[in-house]
Amino acid sequence: MTVTVNGEVRELPEGTATVRALLDAMRYSFPLLIVRVNGRLVERASYASEPIAAGDLVDVYHLVSGG
């Protein structure tokens, strides 16, 4: 399945059906992320239930402390 993650086209393993699975497949292990799918914010509590489909545009931002 092909999706665009942070502007790059990625081939994800079959069965990568949710935001949680996508984050695991991409090895995004930071504890605090902002995830947008097709421009819409996905809150942390919904990662495991939010579906990902072929052709989706996904933006993932790592949030780390400092300022």
């Binding site: 942070n6 930071f30 504890p31 605090l32 992320l33 902002i34 947008r36 421009g39 914010l41 809150e43 942390r44 933006d59 931002y61 790592h62 949030l63 780390v64 402390s65 400092g66 300022g67």
Partner: protein
Amino acid sequence: MTRQEYRERLREKRVGIAGAGGLGSNCAIALARAGVGSLVVADFDRVSLDNLDRQAYFLDQVGMLKIEALALNIARIDPSIQVEAHAVRLDRGTLAAIFSDCDVIVEAFDAAEAKVMFIETLLEELRDRPLVCASGVAGYGRPESFRVRRSGALRMVGDFESGVGPDNPPMAPRVGIAASMEADLVMEVLLA
């Protein structure tokens, strides 16, 4: 546009800044110097001696509320700039109301959890309002690692990995670069 025409346009603008620490104080000073006419600043904290390593305050301001010290410092640059200061701890309940009439809102928090709260709350409550945020500003060196990422109304600066830790404190040069990049993205929004 000429310098004067730019300043006249910025004079009419109102910018929100959530947090008045390293990012917020330096970003506010840059925007004040650039000619932004109205700033809304919120922070509950007081200036401490340790803050002087990167924040836009002075030794004789230790102990003052940061928002009060910041308003004084901006007034020394241009007393006609309107500064609306809120001594509050920003949370999901207060954020949107305080910044609701701003043209663009800057995230200038320290803690990653607060950054997430800012983005989630304002994307939800003030849809399509331009937001400028920072992530990954600690330590020193590798200035070329700073990037800007844009996704709709959301703009973010930083290297997205250098978090503050016991061996990786925030330091003036990198925090200053990030604060200036945030201010520059505000200019991009305001003058678009």
